[in-house]
């Protein structure tokens, strides 16, 4: 018998570094399918009970790259009263929201949401339900938790409809994509979504994972989970490139994209590479009126998690400086195992001003909370 403690014990000294309220741009509340039931028609509820979800991979439960810890969660995030990690608001408050002084957080629900579901109509039905439940089951009970507009992103028109339902509702922070879309994000099929998001005044959050239906890398299927999670930055780089080069930001100059949970150190090199090739081959893309790195600089934000761990911590500061101190948003990824504790996650050597920007200032500006 082990002695249980209701709160994790943190040796981290709060040296006042987190005195400013923290804006956490990536929290994963766990709802159940039952939670969504009131917002689903009988047709789709029955369908789910009988045929279930099919999301471009083969398993009913779990993943062909099994996670390294159950539900990819911190082992101490299972609520003592029972239930799955991040399913219990009280425990979430105790362990995370109140513990760290989270003033404002964005919920990026991962399941059940129907995102990436092979059936567009089911995906749309679940998206609606997931959005309703984020409001009723989470935001109403704790207004610090803002919702994402979950959309059936493989269907542009259905997504547009869902975004329009939520336009003007300040309980929603951004529109949510998973990163492994079936096509590169810059492709025309997704443009109705960008148009709707801009109309509604929402940034777009692109969170890693999902299943594109294609091999997990551009050279086939890796064998290991560690390869899968490392690869996110590479595939997201392809979609970032696509958004830029297809001219999405020429068409929608107000569009803002937040890259969530892919790290950030890969951004500068991508900008350099694109610029170099664009200088040589501008004639291919006459619709681009600026260098690719300028779009990268202006239209994209990055979340901090998983925080980069270089052998020399100063190197991480280089990357942050090259991305721009105003483009970096703190995210915890609670309750996942690669979670970043806001008290200790940021690299040493940051000025108070920069820390505050990352903790809250940049999010306030992006999400227009000033």
């Amino acid at each position: 018998m082990n002695i249980e403690v209701r709160q994790p014990v943190h040796g981290a000294k709060d040296s006042g570094k987190a005195r400013v309220g923290i804006f956490d741009c990536d929290i994963h509340p766990k709802s159940s399918l039952e939670d969504l039931r009131p917002y689903l028609s009988n047709r789709w509820w029955d369908y789910l009970q009988t045929y279930g979800q099919r999301q471009r991979h083969g398993y009913v439960k779990g993943f062909p790259y099994p996670k390294s810890q159950p539900l990819a969660s911190r082992r101490d995030s299972w609520p003592p009263g029972g239930g799955l990690p991040a399913s219990d608001l009280d425990f979430m408050r105790q362990q995370h929201l109140d513990f760290y002084g989270i003033e404002w957080g964005i919920m990026n629900p991962l399941s059940p949401t129907g995102q990436g579901e092979q059936n567009d109509e089911l995906s749309a039905a679940m998206a609606f339900a997931a959005n309703e439940y984020q409001l009723e089951g989470w935001n109403r009970r704790d207004p610090r938790l803002k919702a994402s507009v979950v959309i059936p992103y493989e269907n542009g028109e259905m997504s547009r409809a869902e975004i329009r339902k939520r336009a003007g509702d300040r309980r929603f922070a951004h529109v949510l994509f998973l990163s492994r879309t079936s096509e590169l994000l810059g492709k025309r099929r997704y443009w109705p979504i960008f148009e709707a998001a801009v109309e509604a005044g929402f940034p777009i959050g692109v969170h890693v994972f999902g299943s594109s239906g294609r091999p997990m890398s551009n050279t086939g299927w890796p064998s290991f989970y560690v390869e899968e999670i490392t690869e996110h930055s590479a595939s997201l780089a392809a979609s970032v490139t696509s958004l830029i080069v297809e001219g999405v930001f020429e068409r929608y100059p107000e569009l803002k994209i937040v890259l969530i949970e892919a790290g950030f150190a890969w951004i500068p090199s991508l900008g350099w590479r694109l610029d170099q090739n664009w200088k040589r081959m501008k004639d291919e893309v006459p619709h681009l009126r600026r260098a690719p790195s300028e779009y990268l600089r202006e239209q994209f934000w990055v979340s901090t998690q998983p925080m980069e761990e270089a052998e020399e911590p100063d190197h991480v500061l280089d990357m942050m400086a090259w991305i721009g101190w105003d483009k970096i948003l703190f995210a915890s990824d609670y309750p996942h195992w690669d979670f970043d504790d806001p008290f200790v996650a940021l690299p040493p050597g940051l000025s108070e001003e920069r820390r505050n920007k990352i903790y809250s200032g940049n999010a306030k500006a992006l999400y227009r909370l000033d």
Partner: protein
Amino acid sequence: MIGALAAIDCDVHPTVPAMTALSPYLDDFWRAAVVERGINSLETVTYPPNAPLTARPQWRDKNGRAATSAAELTAQVCDRWQAGIAILNCLYGVGLLFSEDMAFAFTRALNDWVAKEWLERDPRLRASIVVPLQNTEYAVDEIERCAQDRRFVQILVLAMQEMPLGRRHFWPIYAAAERHGLPLGIHAGSTYRHSITSLGWPSYYIEDYASHTQAFQSQLASLVCEGVFAKYPGLKVVLLESGVTWLPAFLWRFSKFWRGVRAEVPWVDRSPAEIVRDHVRLTIQPFDAPAEADRVERAIDHLRSDAILLYASDFPHWQFDGDETMPAGIPPALRRKILVENPLATYDRLTL
């Protein structure tokens, strides 16, 4: 004399003028098949023939092609840019064929053509053995055959394959390479078994060219995770035309996750960053660099290795202007290492 070498150019590209150039090196059946089936060209869209990146305008002949002869190539690479040795990496698209037997025949012919039309013409030239990965037995066969000619200094594969290169399926090839002291050269490019990004086919060539860095990352992750370097500790890998500056961020992320998920791949006995610094080298063109010279130096610091960069011009690809073969901002102390010492240390067969 090695001491007199000013540079070793680790990545230049001979251009096959047409499929008929390989005919003398095919047997009767395949020579006839090429004609009867109208197989005229294996040029790939990785380098669209007329795209700017593919060749500088002033290097193109009247047919719009560059690097079609040893004399032309060495005039630029060896005479003008002072490479005492240049390593030919032929990118003709034999790797894209699906028929194993056809691929084997054409690849043999290609390597023979490189030996006859290039290596024979200039003693400063060396080459990589193009490897028919469609069939591992054929691949080993071809390595054994060409390794007998010591002017072949490396084995060559394209970065995007049907499965990641670390997979055990490919291991007989690495055994052969290690046995002969031949590094595994992974060059930008694709066999087009999958879309060139993991999220589909891009609309523009600029995106295509950007996609190669993703493949290099996935290949390194695969080689390390599958334990290729544990199994073949003598194997070296050279990433050719990769862009370079993507590497530190990738190593940070990979190593970070490995620390927590180590038990999934327990034969990886130390940080992936260390394994890569021990076994992997990168050619410097293109060098995806910021405009500011001071940032170049900082980006090189991030690599944490003096030994990792190898000089290459990537001729005739248009990666730089004029004679600026070395990116601005490379610290002087590093230049000689990049130009000569690191290539010599990487390619066993270059030592006299």
